[in-house]
Amino acid sequence: MSVSHGIPKQIEELLVTNRRGFLRNAGLLAVSFGIYGGAGLAEANAQSTASAQGPGPYPDLDFRQIDSWIVIHENNSATFYVGKTDPGQGTGTGFRQLMSDELDIAFDRTTCIMGSTDITVDQVGSGGSTAMERDSWPMRRVAAEARRVLLQMASTRLGVPADRLAVNDAVITVKADPAKHVTYGELLTGKKFNVTLNGNNVNSVTGQAKTKSIPELKYAGHAAHRDDIPGKVDGSTKWAADVKLPGMVHARNVKPPYACAKLTGIDESSVKNLPGFIKVMSKGNYVAVVCEREEQAIRAARQLKTTWEKPSTAPFPASEDLFKYMRAATPVPGATPTVAGGPGAAFAGAAKTIEAEYEIPFQGHTAFAGAHATADPSNGQMTIYSNDMKSYGMRRGVATFLGMPNDRVRVTYMQGPQGFGRTAAEDAACEAAWIASELGRPVRMQWMRDEETAWDTKSPAFLVKMRGALDAQGRLVGYEYNARSCDYNHLGYNEPDTVLIAQLMGQRRARPAAGSAALPSDMYAIPNRRMIGEVVGLPAVWETPLRTGNLRDPNGPQSAFASESFIDEAAAAAKADALEFRVNMIKAGTNDDNGFRRARSLAVLEAAAKKYGWQPRPSPGPRGTGKILTGRGIAYSFRGQTVVAEIAEVEVNRETGHVWAKRLVCAHDCGFVVNPESLRTTVECGTLHGLSRAIHEEVRFDTEKVTSVDWVSHPTLRHADVPEQIDIVLVNGDPNPNRPDLPPYGAGEASLKPMLAAIGNAIHDATGVRIRRVPFRDDRVLAALKAAGV
């Protein structure tokens, strides 16, 4: 088997090593990612007659077979196959560490293939920071079972009971006679495992072997360089955006110029003489242009003349009126409050009552590149090359959308611009697939910047009203949290009837998703609480760019901005130190959960304070007299069992309103840490994502369309915003930090959650001014300072 130029290293390895027919249907050989060796178009055209894929079908892999997860090669290396995707947090390297440990093979003799539906079992893909917490377990158990099976095979081969054998780096040795040994590769030559596992679903799959305890792990728990990084810095990684297929054409969308617009005409003569023009594709309100070359498609999409009718009523209020609208809107019925104690009596008997209202606007996914996918309809199949983090859902979604059987569709996961939830990559995949199936040629679809920023899914806007009752000792004894999330018709993942092309083609789901408005995540023992999260909707829920979908802890940053700002306000009202106020409220509780979240909450707060050098005093601090005012803020929350405390030190320029987070501290506890090196970078980047949402990000719109269309109108964090110092403290606050069964929890999302509040609290500490609306842009901060006479 020859090496096909430009194929991703992992795929290449899988093709050139001894796969013994495992991949007979994969048909990846004719796919060229690098294009034609620089020989230009002539060779490209010559190759266009080649078939891109085999005849299929692509049945589901059996998760109960070891062979679906692990292949041992004759050269005593191993390839792991997991149904996960790694959008850039290093989980793929983490899986290798864990599986190498359980299999007892050297880490550098292993590779990991992820998330391609025809060659890896369905583990959904990624989402919710669950990679280590949930999805690493089945693969660990399978690897442990594979080791057990290999030991049995060696026992037979060597004529020695298994308990008298030792394993090291995939070599099984007779303990009493080390000269007698056999390798995994020698044991399996020419054979599959052919071992059936137990378990009703992929999450419960198991063999007989037990997984190792933490002290037995050689790779997991220790720093390992991520295996995807070298290719990303030398240019050799082949991304979903790089896929080139024989005969492939380029498509670009022509989006409606207004929300809910009705297409009334297409003048194809406006583009039909353009070079490379192939076809205008349209159904309902969906319009796209297809050309031979990429730049031709971009030009044709811009030049195509279309006419549209505006809706008779405004689809949404303008962004400056959003919170007024949300205040007056009628919530979706059905929300019920969570009540503890007697909040009414607590407020009636309060020594002091405080109230505040917080506003968090829509914030965008705004992936770094426009959504894209390539679809290959050859041989009666449909293959999608995508960076979407949920390849299996995409397979089902595309199959249903096109009316194809599941086993005729496969999705090959490849790297792409950051996938932080339900991104427009899913929309682009359905668009590419539809055009490819209509045209009978492979199609590469890519959204342009304005489409991506305006039409990607949004994190829902929140309006949160809070009340607090303080007793005579300054303790928070009553607490009310009333959240309204603008989240009606929240889009799920890869839904064939809610992807944008389906909406534009006129599909309507009878019951749009209800959406959600999360409650705060804290361990404060406030005796009397009333909390409710309600959802409101905009007038238009279909064919609108203001569509909501999961973005990294979908409600967390919003709810934590409100709740952790408010706790700070309560501390200030009590003239208490913001850290001590929190710690005292956690210590006032007595019950912990089985993950010791209360104990670990105290531990992260203590660790963050220690790292920062926190000196107790009430906020605001004494205000400076110069141009730059300095302050510090703390906030804490958890996401699942991952607990985070963050401290921000900010400089506020009172002449410009500019806020610079000079220093950030994040104390982070996610239980057992599989790879401290990649965790640190992930936490650091999550922290900065929180900073970006605190100071920059906001989707703007008028009453017809989203007006945030690029990096100027939906700004993001930049190099100049980066703190001078970031300290990440990996805490293990478990009461027994050395326990051998400490589980790994999630990471990635948790660190961005408290950051918005930490920044707001620091601004208050610096200036004495409480700003209850993010982002803390210069003009907003300056106006607030001026209004307060600062």
Binding site: F33, P275, E295, F368, G686, L688, H719
Partner: protein, 165 residues
């Protein structure tokens, strides 16, 4: 369509394309150089950055026919398979998350260090400020640039002389 001559990473090419075609699409689709990426098509993010005449330029808004000097892409930084100190620093500091922007980060940093081998923190922030990252790998990028600058200084003849002296 018309004939266009391009020299990229030491190789000369003659291409028959529309002269206004942005350089990015020629590099990616005709020459198979996919280090440069499409991020915005507006020159705002830096994903498409290549080096021409020592300057980091945005190939998504640069007509291919206007390029008269040699183009260096990310693939051209390690011509003999030996990573450039910037690329090595990126690995040592484990900079990328998704990595889609890192072409722009590395190429912009390369052009900066070629002109200014010892940038201050403020100069790094200013020079890099138009090169965006949505995963927020900025802190690591800045650390890696400083690491690469130290490596380059150690490798330079002047510094070797100093060591000898």
């Amino acid at each position: 369509m018309s004939k266009i001559d391009l020299k990229v990473n030491g190789h000369a090419h003659t291409l028959d394309i529309e002269p206004s075609t942005p350089l990015l699409y020629v590099l990616r689709n005709d020459l198979g150089l996919q280090g440069p990426k499409f991020g915005c098509g507006l020159g705002q993010c830096g994903a498409c950055t290549v080096i021409v005449n020592g300057a980091a330029v945005r190939s998504c808004i640069l007509p291919a026919s206007s390029v008269k000097a040699e183009v260096t892409t990310l693939e051209g930084l390690a011509p003999n398979g030996r990573l450039h100190p910037l690329q090595q620093a990126w690995i040592d500091e484990q900079v990328p998350q998704c990595g889609f922007c890192q072409n722009g980060q590395i190429m912009t940093a390369k052009a900066m260090l070629d002109k200014n081998p010892h940038p201050t923190d403020a100069q790094i922030r200013e020079t890099m400020n138009g090169t965006l990252c949505r995963c927020m790998s900025y802190y690591r990028v800045q650390t890696a640039i400083k690491r690469a600058a130290r490596t380059l200084a150690d490798q330079s003849p002047a510094s070797q002389k100093e060591v000898v002296a």
